[in-house]
Symmetry: C2
Subunit: 342 residues, 2 copies
């Protein structure tokens, strides 16, 4: 058994209350006693029990983080940002991934509730609104990162401005001289893909360029092999686009692979742009033009917002909705170039 304040009390000949106060630096206890107790605690290797403390204080100093996938590099960078802030502010992380599985989601929410996490950050692209509301109704401060549902019942959100990013990418392609630009979307992603599509469509319209229906293609996910397969679709069109704007980098990477295999030269014959700027995108061949979504900053802002909320009295959050929208930067690399003259 681990040593407790009672053990220390016995050894130093005081009551456990005195020990508790001494270790907290209460001004009620004389400096000498404090020293004596502190030293004894040190010697005995005392470590306070988080369980006992939180039972009393009603605070756990733990933040729950819900991800859709723990193996996804995109979420890991966000996690990195969250962890930094948490560490700094004295919070630990309770992490669980839903793997898009409703049963796991249920379990996760239950675990968070049982653990009495001080707050929860949801970064799961597919986390059901129902489970989220469950948390809200139990009084958990919840911050949602890149919320995918149209639902605005979550008062505290951090977003990346996907419309803006998409506009920048599209403008880049237009500026290069492209007129036949296609969009490869991910039907599994809710708001994100529609925002990116909106940005694309609006910019094209502003530029007075038509987007034929067959240039909008959606696949059911964001993995590389889907991007690969999508290329087969685009190649079969009677008029192939000269540029493809992909929902995310993994799709773009798959498309790049398909091009390499089919002998389509990128960017000479076809320009390809991704989105998100995952680590790999800097090492593709050619290196991938993409949009740098500030993943780490998103994590930092979400954690910061949650920690701020925890500063308020329990249940007395400010009523005002706080929604922060972050912008990223276009990253022009080597997979996009001016189209060749026909």
């Amino acid at each position: 058994m681990a040593t407790t304040i009672k053990d220390i009390a016995r050894k130093t000949g005081v009551s456990h209350s005195t020990v508790s106060r001494a270790l907290h630096g209460s001004s009620l206890i004389s400096p000498e006693t404090v020293d004596r107790i502190r030293q004894a605690a040190q010697e005995m290797g005392y470590q306070p029990s988080a369980a006992a403390r939180s039972l009393k204080t009603n605070r756990t100093q733990v933040l729950g983080v819900i991800l859709s996938s723990i193996a996804d590099p995109f979420f890991n960078e966000i996690l990195f940002g969250i962890e930094g802030v948490a560490q700094e502010k004295g919070y630990s992380l309770f992490i669980a991934s839903s793997q898009h599985d409703p049963i796991r989601e249920r379990k996760i929410v239950q675990t968070m509730m049982e653990q009495r996490t001080d707050g929860v950050i949801i970064c799961s692209s597919s986390f059901s609104a129902e489970q989220g509301h469950q948390l809200l109704s139990y009084g958990f401060p919840v911050v949602v990162l890149n919320n995918q549902s149209a639902d605005d019942s979550f008062h505290f959100s951090i977003y990346h401005d996907d419309v803006d990013g998409s506009q920048q990418v599209t403008r880049h392609l237009i500026t290069l001289g492209h007129r036949r630009i296609a969009y490869l979307g991910n039907s599994r992603s809710g708001r994100t893909t529609s925002d990116r599509l909106t940005g694309f469509r609006d910019t094209m319209q502003e530029a007075g360029m038509a987007v034929p229906n067959e240039y909008i293609f959606e696949v059911a996910g964001g993995e590389a092999h889907l991007g690969y397969e999508a290329m087969e679709y685009f190649r079969r069109l009677e008029k192939m686009p000269t540029a493809i704007f992909c929902f995310n980098d993994m799709l773009a990477i798959g498309a790049l692979n398909a091009c390499a295999q089919a002998g389509i030269r990128v960017p000479e014959q076809l320009s390809i742009a991704g989105f998100d700027n995952i680590t790999y995108s800097a090492f593709t061949n050619p290196t991938l033009t993409t949009f740098d979504q500030p993943k780490r900053v998103l994590g930092i802002e979400a954690a910061q917002l949650l920690v701020d909320l925890l500063g308020y009295e329990v249940g007395k959050f400010p009523l005002t909705q706080t929604i922060k929208i972050l912008k990223g930067n276009l990253l022009v690399r080597n997979s996009t170039a001016a189209p060749v003259e026909e």
Copy 2:
């Protein structure tokens, strides 16, 4: 405040002990009472307090996981394996990453101790033995995954057989007909890099092939840019190798990039092999020959071993050291081929 068993007791007109027993399905309580209480608990949205329970039971049902980097895809796949087992066995995860920072390591160990984690899995390549021993001395069951120190004071370990993997890669290159094979190592990684070097050296020797000193090159890390820079070194040698065996995939990817830029055709002019089989290695151009370290299985085995240990009485683990060594598979892709005749 969340509802407690006392609230339920008040509502159903029984004592809190009865509620506690009813919710645990104790045979002492009559079926009707159990039903009544269960229903009330349901209605009131009761969620037991993990803190209070673990205070009493001395079990938290939480496993601590220590990683060196939370943003590293390699560790994330391991984590994926760990999470699966944990979920299944009713454990949650407390995750912290040391970021190779001794101060953070200290904090992490302290947090694990305060949280009274039931056990700890260390997957940090650089986690100091000192901190690990700290955990051991507090009686924590500790399972170390791919332990980097020569230290054998950790009784429970899961290893990947790096020597075997390295031998397989080397044999593959030799079988292809290569005679001038170089090894690109990572000096920051302890046992792993030396094991891989050993496997390489032994196999070369068996095949009766000399390895000149300048063909063993080490860089201080495993990031892509270091692989890129290492290529400059190899290119400057008066006799360039015909194949390079890289410590890990990211170094190999960097090397591939350097080749693409320098106009060195892979695999025609130079074969490159990686190690680990991270997701991205399937999408490089050319696709990377590598060794598939069973990361997920490593995680699964580590978690399984730890959970098994927890089945024993507190402090009464089997004295026998348990070390499990897992083997992976060679993955031949397109970055390796027979060398051209000179």
